[in-house]
Symmetry: C2
Subunit: 804 residues, 2 copies
């Protein structure tokens, strides 16, 4: 059993993907309705594919460019292997594939949901949530399959499938980081591009359609309405999917890196503990794999019976599935942790006290389980906090409603303060999470907290993706002029979807924050520094710069939406003027032109934020080299930058998401009517108009700049991780420390038990000479052999590695 | 000459105060106009005094409470002396006195400016700028006098007026920190309370007066109009004054602390270098003293000749005075630095490389001068950046104007993005400033950069305070129904005042940021830790918490304004309804009721932000003690918190100030008319209404929450500094390191040249035994003497100190 555990997560991922395929076939077999519905659905489907196609074209250039950059790193840094490029390309490809699959199923489920809603609500829920399930399992399955597949590959390639030492495992994991980098790069473009797309279309459609022309939302006479519906899929489905795909991969990777560090702390070899001596590295993958099966079980619980069900019942059905899967993850974590981690207490390096207070402390595997629990609880509580600050009928939203009565300005001030004040509990929660999970099991604990939280990603995404599908289904019902009961049913689903969208954003932030912390910790171990001292002025300066980047990034994303929306407004106005009979429904709007505007604007506008995200860490790594700074100091500077981006990014993510969500629901409150100064106030009142203004400000907050923060902080930390080996003391002038003795506790009677290496570098020709004493056990007897090598550092190291 | 340098700054401060008195008498001798003007002016004067009186009452309770807390610290921490309470009380008193003087002269100058404007513009400028000058010199003079006075006192009390060792000087400076803490505490209440006061009155007056009743601004029929004018004085004059008073004192103090650290790095005794061996400690005070005289010279250059002058000429006159004084500070710094610092290169501890990369590096005094230049340049550039992002006719403001044409939502989005994007250059500038000044002269360089920048505080405040005086003068002209020419003249001054207000805010942020950095560095030296390692999870957690506090603080301040404004709105509505003939000008509004509402609201609402500011650092220092954390780790956690508050606070200060300033000027742009989509658009248009909405959102941003950030970050770092000795290894279980040899390079032939101390602590009774070998030169011959002591740690240390 133990021997095959390395393959287990991949097998579970494949099971998840097979189930996904079965579910997909079921959804596709559902009736897709009559001619008009099919036509509209086809428009949305084609618009979405058009965007994806354009995006992939741009991305392929990016992937080629980034691959060349990685090749350059691999050329100059001896420990970075060219295989990182392969991992990178596959990471990008898998992420794009997951997004593609998600978009396709979402744009096929929408019309089928509309059709199902013509017969019954339970059926409509089944179809829409079925579409979400396909999306969720696709993303999670591909993430786990890709990551574990490449791990098996690299483990065999670099280490021959057997434990050698932590340095070689570091090479395996550094190469694997390419997969994560690829996935997160795609996420950047999907989240930012998708966010700009969806809001440009939404704001553009509303400004001319609703405000100027006075036609309802989703009216087929509005040329931007298809772009608006495409936007829901591009932003909320593909963007969210890519975001969580990236978090999932990065979290597990970071936990693996820190698992390797534990093995190092325990003496560099724990093969006696079973699992091929890589139990702490396999554990996060095992939890992820288990999470896929658990998510499938969770989705099976989501069902309602009554056709007269209201929002509360639908919400309850989703909650049951969600909470049960979270509970199962906690149970599974307990068994996996106690089974896979060394039985006797593990030693871990902890910072317990002062400057010199780095101590080895023994912790039991139970401690690691407690850390997992911390992650699971934080995931739940942060969703609840988000729900409180953005939920209909809760105090903060009611406060914004009251402030709408004195005009747009007071509405805006109230919304901004709500978003700002909501950071209080969220950040205290993070602080406690960091503190507690570290206290339980060091940074490995922090990473496993994130892994345990992310284990239900498939379930979370299913709940998340179901919202936009229902939203689209409503749009199609409106555009194809269905009976009111159809729209009523899709509206119930849509309304629940709005709540899950808000809590889903909370989950996404929490996962991004914990992922970044885990990556941050992994970064420190990769660079080999002992810490990041912000009392060094250059490090402090970078903390400031890092803090600034999320703010500027948000500003760029917000103004991009404004620019793109203006273009959309102009095009819609033009069509209303130029196309005869459009308002009477006899002329046909040119939907594709609006789709093209959103697509082009999104692709163009995502470039600058992308350049900032990728460019800053690289500049920080290279500019100080020109000033002759030492690598160790540069590594600390980059670490300071990463910390600045993470702290500020998490703050701005919470602020923007919650302010946006609160404004949105403040506006929605007017639909059912609200009591202001003792008077019932409805849609169309001045207070409602003020609330609409707030919602318009909140749109880019919650759907563009806010969610982009997740990607920004994760990608920043990942780029740091990939750069880390350059700063990790492997470069010119430094001799890698290979003098460590590799102790073997196994019982095989032929084994290399140590390589003692002495390296010297000739300062004139940069060649190194190495003297290697290898101690082996041959047929039970100890032998020593001596080797001498000369050549470039990379050559010599490769020769040393090849000694059996 | 050298011997009296310690008294020089105090003498210069007294000269400044005498000049201030002369100037004050001149202003008071000016004609204060006719009956109606006098009456209105008296209302404003009384309203302002009423606020100050109520504020001081509340503050005296606070001062008593804080004094008790300080007494507790002094009781438990052996190195903290009870005199810190005296220093604290005087710091609070001096700050309050400066604010009081400033408010009084401002509320006396306003009516005299109106009267002067009846004759000529140059005269009106003279009077209003004269009032500003009195304010500026009062603040700077009292700050320097208080700080240097207490330094002389403590230097004599603790060290007998002669250099002994750096440990004793640390006690002097720790006690002096009480003065700074007192000043900054008053600033908290003045800035936050003043900010809430001014905006509650402003927004309340506008909402009912301008919007509902349709009467112009400053109309005497509006019951809130006096409160509005009082607010200008309370917020912009007293608040800004207290802010800069606090920055000034804190900056110089931090530089003195770091100067002491340099002496330590140089071997602990540089009496051979003259200035009683405290040159590096005296230097920042000397620069501050010189700055007062230079500011007087600068103010003399501010004058215009032509009665037909426009904004440009007035602005030019102010600029000439400002730039000339900045130039003189640069020159003076050069001479003071090269004269007062040791002639041969100084050794300073630098972090140059990796973990162990703390090295002693020799730098020349010229390097320190370069650091001063960095500060002076940053002060100038940051004002220019602020001016760009908030200035009339500049691209960002024009962009907001364009976005007003599509409604309030796009105006708000544009304003928010402008504020956010403005952080880019400002933060890069800070980063470069930190980096460069540290590279030149370590953290002493950072602190001296701040000191040099702050040297022209008197001039900056004169320019700053002149704005609200002119604004008030315009209000009085309106209320007392003067000829239009009078209002035109005061409007010219007011318009220039708006620009100087924006750049003044930039200066205040820059000073607060550099001050905090200097305090942060001083904190690290006080606690004796080597750095702050954010790779320790508890430290990282505190970085997050620190980052959150400015956001929550801002939210509280903003919603306080909303609440208070609502109260004001209700009161004004009531008066309009209840007082007969008020709209016809026959009934007299009850101004004092509105003044009372603003006063009470400001005092009540400032409490919670105050509690957060003061409470968090104290909780962070004490809660971990309950968990048994080591002092050194707690010191790092508190340092992480301070860094989080500083980084996030600076970001939010820039964001809020610049967004608010830009919205304000976008609205003002409509007064002269703006070109939107090829059409001239003026006040009253829909676009203008959208811009008014933006301005209303921006009001609390730029006048309440934004400026409060300065105080928050400085006070946080100051509290850290005062707590530092508790965490600084002076408490139970630690033995201070007195083994350092004190080397003397002087030529006196009788001197103690070293004390070698070996201390042991008895674990049972906590008593220490000390064995001290003292090496002396008596009449040119070296002698050694041995002492043995036993007793409590404090007793023994005091005995060791007393050995001559």
């Amino acid at each position: 059993m133990e021997a095959i555990m390395i393959y287990m997560p991949a097998v579970l991922a494949i099971i998840g993907l097979i189930y996904m395929w079965v579910k997909r076939s079921w959804v596709m077999k559902q009736d897709s309705g009559d001619g008009k519905m099919k036509e509209i659905s086809a428009h949305i489907y084609e618009g979405a594919l058009a965007f994806l196609k354009a995006e992939y074209k741009l991305l392929s250039f990016f992937v080629i460019g980034a691959s060349i950059a990685l090749a350059a790193i691999a050329y100059f840094v001896p420990t970075t292997h060219y295989l990182i490029i392969v991992a990178f390309i596959f990471g990008a490809f898998f992420s794009a594939l997951a997004g593609n699959m998600g978009m396709k199923i979402a744009t096929q489920s929408n019309v089928r949901t509309t059709q199902a809603a013509r017969t019954s609500l339970p059926k409509a829920l089944n179809v829409s949530f079925g579409g979400g399930t396909v999306m969720g399992l696709g993303v999670a399955g591909l993430a786990v399959l890709g990551l574990t597949g490449f791990f098996i590959l690299f483990f065999n390639y670099f280490m021959g499938g057997e434990w050698t030492n932590t340095d070689q495992m570091t090479v395996v994991l550094e190469t694997l980081a390419g997969f994560s980098l690829g996935a997160e790069s795609i996420a950047l473009f999907a989240r930012v591009g998708g966010g700009i797309y969806t809001k440009a279309a939404d704001v553009g459609a509303d400004l001319v359609g609703k405000v100027e022309a006075g036609i309802p939302e989703d009216d087929p006479r509005n040329p931007a309405t298809i772009a608006d519906n495409v936007g829901d899929n591009v932003g909320d489905v593909a963007g969210m999917g890519a975001d969580l795909f990236g978090s999932y991969v990065a979290t597990v990777l970071a936990a693996m890196v820190l698992g390797n560090y534990i093995i190092k702390d325990m003496g560099g070899d724990i093969t006696g503990e079973g699992f091929g001596g890589i139990g702490p590295i396999l554990l996060p993958m095992a939890i992820a794999g288990a999470g896929i099966i658990i998510s499938i079980i969770g989705t099976l619980l989501v069902r309602i019976k009554s056709n007269d069900a209201k929002e509360a019942e639908v919400q309850k059905a989703l909650n049951i599935g969600n909470w049960f899967s979270i509970f199962l993850v906690a149970v599974a974590s307990y068994f996996l942790v106690t089974w896979m981690l060394p039985a006797e207490p593990m030693t871990m390096g902890f910072f317990v006290g002062g400057q010199e207070g780095f101590e080895m402390i023994s912790i039991s595997s139970l401690n690691v389980f407690y850390a997992c629990l911390v992650g699971i609880i934080v995931g739940g509580v942060i969703s609840a906090v988000t729900e409180y600050y953005t939920g209909l009928g809760k105090k903060p939203v009611l406060g914004i409603v009251q402030n709408s009565s004195t005009g747009a300005a007071t509405n805006i001030i109230a919304g901004l303060s709500t978003g700002m004040i909501s950071t209080f509990f969220s950040i205290l929660l993070f602080a406690v999470a960091i503190w507690a999970s570290y206290a339980f099991a060091g940074f490995y604990g922090v990473a496993l907290a994130a892994s345990a939280m992310m284990a239900t990603t498939a379930m979370q995404l299913a709940i998340d993706a179901f919202g936009p599908i229902a939203d689209n289904a409503g749009g199609i019902a409106e555009m194809s002029e269905q009976e009111p009961i159809v729209r009523e049913r899709t509206d119930i689903l849509d309304s629940v979807g709005n709540t899950t969208a808000a809590t889903g954003k909370g989950f996404a932030i929490a996962s991004a924050a914990l992922t970044s912390l885990a990556l941050f910790a992994a970064y420190v171990t990769f660079t080999g520094i002992d810490g990041i001292n912000i009392f060094k002025a250059p490090v402090l300066a970078m903390l400031f710069v890092g803090g600034m980047v999320p703010v500027v990034f948000s500003a760029l994303a917000m103004s991009s939406v404004g620019k793109a929306a203006m273009q959309m407004v102009r095009e819609v106005r033009r069509q209303f003027k130029d196309i005869p009979g459009i308002m009477e429904g006899t002329g046909k709007p040119e939907y594709d032109k609006c789709v093209a505007i959103s697509t082009e604007a999104a692709l163009k506008e995502m470039l600058l934020p992308g350049v900032i995200t990728i460019g800053f860490p690289i500049l920080i790594a290279f500019i100080p080299k020109l000033f002759g700074y030492e690598n160790v100091l540069i590594a600390e500077m980059l670490g300071g930058y990463m910390a600045g981006v993470t702290v500020s990014g998490v703050l701005w993510a919470i602020f923007q998401n919650n302010a946006g969500g609160a404004w949105d629901n403040a506006k929605k409150s007017f639909e059912a009517g609200v009591m202001i100064n003792g008077e019932m106030t409805y849609k169309g009142s001045d207070a409602h108009k003020a609330a609409v203004t707030g919602d318009t400000v909140g749109d880019p907050f919650k759907d563009t700049s806010g969610p982009s923060m997740n990607i920004l902080i994760k990608l920043t930390c990942l780029i740091g991780l990939v750069i880390a080996p350059i700063l990790g003391g492997h470069t010119e002038g430094d001799i890698p420390n290979l003098n460590e003795k590799v102790m073997v506790s196994g019982s095989k009677d032929s084994k290399t038990i140590s390589k003692e290496v002495k390296m010297d570098k000739n300062s004139e020709d940069d060649f190194v000479t190495a003297n290697v004493v290898v101690t082996k056990i041959e047929n039970g007897e100890e032998e020593t052999e001596t080797f001498e090598f000369e050549g470039t550092e990379a050559e010599v190291k490769s020769k040393i590695d090849k000694i059996e």
